[in-house]
């Protein structure tokens, strides 16, 4: 898997079919992903979107964006189930923000289709966006206005928001993110954490069915990160679907139920977090004073990638049960001092999916 088609970022087509193959384990969530490998699902299955929309808060088919010569998003099939907390992972520059901007109708896709809460975007923007709260690429407000006045400005822009309840809704949103005490302060006097929370408050001005949060913990200290994480959990607890993008794995690991992993514009994994964890090939590690003999036995069992390092021997476990391996080792007279079946960490999987040192090289 490490050397799969995704290792060639230049060839968008491979990545698309690869993403689909990985996504096929998600068949029950997104039948289209299990379909025949096609480059642009939207062109081939015009009905796909309608079929899928029922249980999905976000459904895209072959969504792609080209900026001049650069393919920022290379045809992705997102399937975000309603009620989930979906972690949208990927290194910086992998196309996450471009995808989010397309979902919100800020950027016109080059090709593909997208449904937000079952409504086609960007055509249905006026109908569906009032039901969607969003934080896009960091907070942005008027520095000369107070936090409260900034929210009032955004609420005034909403054709479907009632002016009569505005003051109460604004205060409730500020209270929810813990900014009520600082509501009268100028935005320019806010700390980064407060700015970030004000942006989330803007998303909470009214009940939403979907929250799209782009890097909500970017630049926050650990305390701020914890607060935002708690907020995300609380929002999801109300039944709101949360789509949160991040390049921080720990964040996703702690709050998300589902994950999608972007790499160079392609969706290289999509599924539940458990599925992502289960993806890693299990290995077996034997601690012994007779590494040579142990290696021989493991190789004799048909295990691959047997490597001995000091008093430890590791190998790909494959389909073999660890207890069988243990019995065979003991039977062959290997003194087994310890035996483990370590699973790769989420971080290992993430790096495996997105490429080692992307940020360092890029």
């Amino acid at each position: 898997m490490t050397d799969g088609p995704a290792a060639r970022p230049g060839t968008g087509q491979d990545e698309i079919s690869f993403g689909r193959a990985v996504g096929s384990q998600l068949g029950r969530l997104h039948p289209a992903t299990a379909g025949p490998a096609t480059v642009h699902a939207a062109a081939v299955h015009p009905a796909t979107a309608q079929v899928d929309a029922s249980g999905l808060a976000i459904a895209t088919a072959g969504l792609a964006k080209r900026f001049r010569s650069q393919m920022a998003v290379a045809g992705i099939d997102l399937a975000v189930p309603r009620g989930s907390i979906y972690g949208f992972l990927g290194p910086n520059g992998s196309g996450k923000t471009t995808t989010i901007r397309m979902l919100l109708g800020l950027i016109q896709p080059t090709s593909g289709s997208q449904l937000l809460l079952g409504v086609g975007m960007p055509a249905g923007a006026n109908a569906v966006l009032p039901r969607v709260g969003s934080l896009v690429e960091g907070p942005a407000f008027y520095p000369q206005l107070s936090g409260r006045a900034n929210l009032a400005r955004l609420d005034a822009a909403d054709r479907t928001a009632s002016p009569r309840t505005a003051a109460a809704r604004i205060d409730a949103a500020l209270e929810r993110v813990g900014l009520l005490a600082a509501a009268g302060k100028h935005y320019r006097a806010y700390s980064l954490g407060m700015k970030q929370r004000l942006a989330i408050a803007a998303g909470l001005l009214r009940p939403r069915e979907l929250m799209i949060l782009d890097e909500p913990t970017n630049g926050l200290d650990p305390q701020g990160t914890r607060e935002v994480r708690a907020l995300i959990r609380a929002i999801a607890a109300d039944g709101t679907t949360v789509f949160v993008s991040s390049h921080l794995l720990a964040e996703v690991d702690q709050v998300c139920s589902h994950a999608g992993v972007m790499r160079a514009g392609a969706l290289v994994f999509q599924g539940t977090l458990d599925e992502m964890r289960g993806r890693g090939a299990a290995r077996i590690l034997v601690r012994t004073s007779e590494p040579a003999l142990a290696s021989q036995v493991l190789a004799g069992l048909g295990l691959t990638d047997v490597t001995a390092a000091g008093r430890e021997v590791t190998a790909q476990l494959g389909t073999e049960a660890p207890e069988t391996v243990c019995a065979r080792l003991v039977h062959a007279g290997v003194p087994v001092a310890g035996l483990e079946t370590p699973r790769p960490s989420l971080e290992d999987l993430f790096v495996e999916l997105t490429g080692e040192g992307f940020d360092v090289n890029g």
Partner: protein
């Protein structure tokens, strides 16, 4: 047809009317928000203050340089009103509008119009407004309305301050128009109001050009500079006699045609030409702004 048949129809009409009313109210709500941003901003207030100070300075200079009143120091080169100011304070307003329309008014309009979309894009607030969704066409209409309102306020402010300063510094009385006819003070002030509104229309046309330029950049300063360049280049071109074939089509050509209002009979054809020119510029450049903003990828 019984009343029972009519009732649902009437209720439906009522529903439509209520929806229309609600949409008007929401429009006004965003417009009020936009006004408070434009008129609440310190920079814009400072610009209005500069606009207001100029007629006062002009008045003081004329009052104390012309040897106090009746001397009549007006030379042939100055604007037509210069010699009349010392005789009647109301003319300070016409003089101030002429003086400010060459540079200061276009500058102020350029700042407000150039900042309209580019400023939101630069701050990042444009993406949040559009994600609300404010609606791109609706946002543009609100921005243009606020710009026009600012132009009207700016021109009326100059006129009002100048009349006040003129009344303090100079005698005030029945207004002798450029054609030699005298009208009452009230009629003179009414003509001044129309002059200010005519100039506001001229500035609104420049504002439309500015709005269009503003949709092409994320840098408000660049937009402001570009608008000023357009205005000044047009003013310069308007003085080059070799280009007189294009003069009537320049955006600034008709700006000072408001002196038509100071004649009896009023030279309506000049005014009509001017207003037509402003209207055409406004329509063309608002269309460009609309075409750009409704199709642009917002990546700021």
């Amino acid at each position: 047809m019984s009343t029972a048949d009519l009732a649902p129809a009437r209720r439906r009409d009522g529903g439509v009317a209520a929806a229309q009313l609600a949409s008007v109210l929401h429009w006004l709500r965003l417009l009020r928000s936009e006004f408070s941003l434009v008129f609440g901003r310190n920079r814009n207030l400072a610009l209005l203050a500069v606009l207001a100070v100029v007629p006062v300075l002009l008045g003081l200079v004329l009052r104390f340089s012309s040897g106090g009143g009746g001397g009549g120091g007006g030379s042939g080169d100055g604007p037509a009103f210069l010699s009349q100011v010392t005789g009647n304070g109301v003319f300070l307003a016409f003089l101030a509008l002429v003086v400010e329309s060459t540079l200061i008014l276009p500058l102020v309009v350029a700042v407000v119009a150039g900042d309209s979309i580019a400023g939101e894009a630069n701050r990042g607030t444009l993406r949040y407004l559009l994600a609300v969704p404010a609606g791109r066409t609706r946002l543009l209409a609100i921005k243009f309305t606020a710009t026009v309102a600012f132009c009207v306020c700016a021109c009326l402010l100059v006129a009002a301050v100048a009349v006040a300063a003129g009344a303090i510094l100079f005698p005030v009385g029945p207004v002798t128009l450029l054609s030699g006819t005298a009208v009452s003070l009230g009629a003179g002030l009414l003509r001044l109001l129309f002059v200010a509104l005519y100039l506001a229309a001229a500035m609104a046309a420049l504002g439309a050009i500015g709005l269009a330029i503003s949709t092409f950049t994320e840098h408000p300063v660049g937009a402001i500079a570009a608008i000023l360049v357009v205005a000044l280049a047009s003013e310069v071109a308007d003085t080059v006699s070799q280009l007189d074939a294009v003069h009537p089509y320049l955006p600034t050509h008709w700006w000072l045609s408001f002196d038509a209002l100071l004649r009896v009979p009023v030279a309506w054809s000049d005014l009509a030409h001017g207003l037509l020119s402003f209207g055409v510029y406004a329509v063309i450049f608002c269309s460009i702004a609309w075409a750009r903003l409704t199709t642009a990828d917002v990546t700021s």
